[in-house]
Symmetry: none
Subunit: 243 residues, 2 copies
Amino acid sequence: MNGRIPRYLQIAETLRERIRGGALARGARLDSQRALAREFGVTLMTLRQALELLEKDGLIACRHGLGTFVASPSIDYDILHLRTFAGDLSAKGEAVETRFLRSDFRPPDRRVAQGLRLRTGEAVFVLDRLRLVNRHPMSYQRSFLPAGIGREVAKADLAITPLRNVLRFKLGIEVTRARETVFAVTLRSLEARELGCRPGTPAFRSERISWAADGAPIVFDRVFIPGDRFRITRELQYEGARP
Amino acid sequence: MNGRIPRYLQIAETLRERIRGGALARGARLDSQRALAREFGVTLMTLRQALELLEKDGLIACRHGLGTFVASPSIDYDILHLRTFAGDLSAKGEAVETRFLRSDFRPPDRRVAQGLRLRTGEAVFVLDRLRLVNRHPMSYQRSFLPAGIGREVAKADLAITPLRNVLRFKLGIEVTRARETVFAVTLRSLEARELGCRPGTPAFRSERISWAADGAPIVFDRVFIPGDRFRITRELQYEGARP
DNA sequence: ATCCTCCACTGTTCTAGAACTCTGCTGCCC
DNA sequence: GGGCAGCAGAGTTCTAGAACAGTGGAGGAT
């Protein structure tokens, strides 16, 4: 029956804001623990409780004798969870934003044509988007849709409406199955430019095909995510002998 | 240059022993934090540091106003994809071969030291192996083990005995839990040479920590897999209403 | 120039309390 | 009997220090 928030949680939140807001750049060193304790008017123990929280979240890294540093943001993606990428991120309290770049009708490459089961010569609707987490580019996503669906989708304002919602509410299409394949690649100049990194940067390339209930392929997504901003995590449990 | 072990680590180890040894049954309530602090002759703060460790390992659960309880080991049987990412490809009917490269005792880097919960200065047993599929190098694997375990493991003929079997049958250690994290990287010259590709080749780097039933870290595996030889695939099923 | 020792600064561990909240029970009051 | 106030005992948060331990640089010795 009490709205009281522990001091160390408040401090953690304040520091989190500073990092998120850019007041503390990645790799920067925070003030010493003693200085921060003075600034917040708490003891070392209390401040350290706050830091431990941030460290557990991977936002900072403490190094004995050196200082406390802002970790380069790397987002964990639990591959066993079925949530969409954006959903996973927003669940972690990050500010996720999708920026519409451009759309077009174009002939697909062979992988896309095969994935969407198109006849040769059939054009597809191409949709380029950029996902930002905490205002930093996180992934460059190019989606391909069959021309028939694409023509309907193109009428919607994709700058504000999520593609999934357009499919579900305007077209009544429900995605029920998907297959995702992840490759390790290096970025080429086009993707690197959009993501603000150098060509040759290591990255994940994810390709996902989504099917409707009737088995018709709906979307082919191709996503590029720089390796320094992302990682895939799995927790494994082995059954068997136990104490 | 110091074998000193913090008091809270010693206490955590003692409690771990009690749980492992059956002195504390699952679901049993531990003595109150104040009583335990008295018993070990430390302050509440120090004792709580020990409890936090055990809680993070999932061995105990603290409940405000009620007490501290030995966690009942909850096994997730619904996670059925237990095959490790970098692990056995043999199930796919490929001719898999493991080539022993070298082993050594060496000081670990920071990531390894942290993952294995080592004190600085403590050396680890390093084991380098190459996995070949159809006689082609597939992954370069470097495993790190705590020195105590490593000394026993080093006595085995690792060129012919799988590490997992050495742990299980010679040391009686059963891995019950693991966490795997996958990064996108480019290969550096050492790994590239072993794998027979050019430096700068895009690759997956997988890091896995494996824990025994009592929560002790056993192995830190670091695996490099060139991107042109491997990819991760997963099937997703969406059922009914989803977020 | 090179090595080494020392030192300042950093994070880390710990003491000895005090006051707080949360939970379940007990006993009073109706 | 039913409800509710209070209480005891549990975990939680916090103070104000002190001492320990790892790092890297400054300055002296060689």
